[in-house]
């Protein structure tokens, strides 16, 4: 296997006594979309700034594309596209002029500049407004212009900080589609977000951040398995004797958890899609089946469940001692 695109080892950032990022070990591989998730203040932006050499780590090491961002920042920054959490442009300049400045800062040859900008703007659907002042752009258009800017340097790795925050549902949908198409081109992506369900859809793997630590890491299914005991949540709507039905469902092999939501509705969590087995169980218990539904677990559930567990553990410690 090739070397990871991003690798950090015990990466730590302290602001005074406050530890913003705590001994982070992260690796992201080529072609992957990795989601850095966690609530505000968890340390996502700080991590990203260290990956780009924009903030010096207090200790630990970072390698991005095999380079050290504090020693070789120019090389790293010419290969990595970065979209900050609040993208700002020069409002008095046009979209084209804004991108032309970035192209020049990247030492792109003069005769290439126009071609690259036109391509990038077309890619994000802003070719019609290329000569309009950015001051007139909506939030969604600015965000797309941010993506176009990142594309100008034809990066191997793209890092986006909170790409969908502040966007309306349609604009964030468009952005997520853009992210998917970038992944299809083989570009490695690192996204950060506090909106778990939005990035869940595009990420191959995620790392959940809390208070500077990455507390969970893996594919969403794996995490669901690990934290909730099952990657699938099955909802069953059935009439009949509740105790009988519950007993039959409990005997289904592969079940992680079952509960009755109300007299007609049951919810089970499982590692596999157990709908056929569940249907059989209901029928065998003399129940009448109305509906069977399955959903992949959401990251929000995983996150909430994980922290409930952690808090639970934490609150147990003082009573034991």
């Amino acid at each position: 296997m090739s070397a990871p695109i991003i690798q950090t080892h015990e990466l730590t950032k302290k602001y005074g006594n406050f530890t913003a990022v705590d001994r982070l070990n992260l690796s992201v591989h080529a072609g992957e979309v990795f989601g850095l998730l966690g609530p505000n203040g968890a340390g996502k932006t700080t991590t990203i700034l260290m990956l780009l050499g924009l903030t010096e780590p207090t200790s630990g090491s970072v390698h991005v594309l095999g380079l050290d961002p504090s020693r070789q920042p120019l090389k790293v920054k010419s290969r990595v596209g970065y979209m900050p959490d609040q993208v700002g442009f020069y409002d008095e300049l046009t979209a084209y002029e804004n991108l032309a400045y970035i192209a020049r800062l990247n030492s792109i040859a003069g005769d290439q500049i126009k071609k690259r900008i036109d391509e990038a703007l077309a890619r994000v659907g802003l070719e019609q407004v290329a000569r309009k002042r950015v001051g007139t752009f909506s939030r969604g258009m600015r965000q797309r212009l941010g993506v176009a800017e990142v594309l100008i340097k034809q990066p191997q790795l793209i890092i986006m900080d909170e790409p969908t925050s502040g966007l309306d549902p349609e604009a964030s949908h468009e952005l997520l589609d853009m992210i998917r198409s970038l992944k299809e081109e083989g570009i490695t992506l690192l996204l950060s977000s506090h909106l778990l369900h939005q990035v869940q859809a595009v990420c191959d793997r995620v790392g959940l951040f809390s208070h500077g630590k990455m507390v969970l890491e893996g594919a969403v299914d794996e995490l669901a398995q690990q934290v909730l005991g099952g990657a699938y949540r099955i909802q069953i709507s059935a009439d009949g004797a509740q105790s009988e039905i519950l007993k039959a469902l409990k005997n289904v092999p592969g079940l992680a958890h079952i509960r009755a939501v109300n007299s007609r509705l049951y919810e089970m969590e499982a590692a596999r899609d157990l709908r056929p087995e569940a249907a059989q169980a209901v029928l065998s218990a003399g129940g009448r089946l109305y509906k069977l539904d399955v959903q992949a677990q959401s990251l929000d559930d995983i996150y909430t469940a994980y922290f409930k567990e952690v808090e639970h553990d934490a609150s147990r410690v003082p009573t034991a001692s």
Binding site: L54, Q72, L74, K75, K77, V80, F89, L105, S107
Partner: protein
């Protein structure tokens, strides 16, 4: 024994510093892109257009008055063109007086939002994520300001000489042109000091309005108060006890030396020595008894240059020191507010 212990330690520390300092690639990569962008901004901004219009109007107005005066003594004076700069007639002061007033304002206008403006528009993280060092960004911004200033001043100089040719009907002499060019250089660096100071404030303060106010306060301080303070300090540090002439001279010299901490004084002295070849000394006769220093034959340019060499280098050094301060502050600044 202690040496044997401490030496490797020192060495290790030095290596540590060196390892941290080593950065690959030229620190000036991308600087000219910054210069081009910033200059285009300056030249198209309304703020600069207003100041440029003011300076040009000033130049035309003072020139008009000056040429009227000078036309009467064309045959008698060998430095007609320099008189264009220095001649004053009520109600207008001489062009140089207005220039000393306007240049700091223009320079401050060019610099007061150069860094905090990027933070406020949230463009700073985006720009610094490009393959460019902070060094190049800051120097690029500074040079763009300095070049803009140079452009404005050069245009005004050409205007003055053009009007001179039209209204006086004689061509300027080589020595006059040389003096005017040196004066142009001094003017640009005088602006450089204020530009660098405004940039320091634009790094220190997140609000451009605060930075502008702080710069203007510094400017007023040197214009209004520094002369007084220099006088008071000289009296306190070099008091007159017995009334000897030496005591008076020492005090006056001290006051003069203190006064030179103000860029305005340095500029005024440079201006006087360059534009009035008759001036032979910038000693204690200066500046209150300036007229008294005229002792006949004008100095050649080379000797005037020797006279103001410390002032000229002082202006340049001041610019460099303030820029270095801005550099250090900017390097340490967190990318997030």
């Amino acid at each position: 024994m202690t040496q044997a212990v401490s030496q490797p330690q020192v060495k290790r520390q030095a290596q540590g510093v060196a390892a941290r300092r080593v950065r690959e690639g030229s620190p000036w990569t991308g600087m000219w892109a910054v210069v081009a962008k910033e200059m285009a901004d300056h030249l198209s901004s309304v703020r600069m257009a207003i100041l440029e219009a003011l300076i040009v109007l000033t130049a035309i107005g003072t020139m008009y008055v000056a040429t009227q005066d000078i036309q009467q003594r064309i045959s008698r004076d060998e430095f007609l063109y320099l008189r264009l700069f220095t001649n004053a007639r009520d109600p207008l002061p001489a062009f140089i007086g207005l220039l000393a007033f306007f240049i700091p304002l223009v320079a401050i206008a060019l610099g007061f939002d150069s860094v905090n403006g990027e933070f406020n528009r949230r463009t700073m993280p985006r720009i610094l994520a490009q393959p460019i060092y902070r060094d190049a960004l800051l120097l690029g911004k500074f040079l763009a300001g300095l070049f803009t200033l140079a452009l404005v001043c050069t245009a005004v100089w050409l205007l003055i000489f053009g009007m001179g040719v039209l209204r006086l009907g004689v061509a300027p002499g080589g020595e006059e042109v040389g003096r005017a060019l040196l004066f142009l250089l001094a003017t640009i660096f005088f602006g450089g000091i204020w530009l660098a100071l405004a940039m320091v404030f634009s790094i220190l303060f997140r609000q451009p309005a605060t930075a502008a106010l702080a710069s203007i306060a510094a400017w007023l301080f040197f214009i209004v108060f520094w002369g007084m303070i220099a006088g008071l300090l000289a009296q306190a540090l070099s008091p007159i006890r017995f009334g000897f002439a030496e005591e008076y001279i020492a005090q006056a010299n001290l006051q003069l030396a203190l006064g030179r901490f103000s860029p305005n004084t340095l500029y005024a002295e440079t201006m006087v020595a360059l534009l009035r070849p008759e001036i032979r000394s910038l000693g204690i006769l200066m500046p209150s008894q300036m007229e008294g220093a005229i002792l006949g034959a004008p100095l050649p340019l080379s000797e005037s240059l020797v006279l103001i060499w410390p002032q000229l280098t002082g202006l340049i050094a001041g610019t460099i020191v303030l820029f270095a301060l801005a550099y250090v502050l900017f390097q340490r600044q967190e990318i997030r507010p």
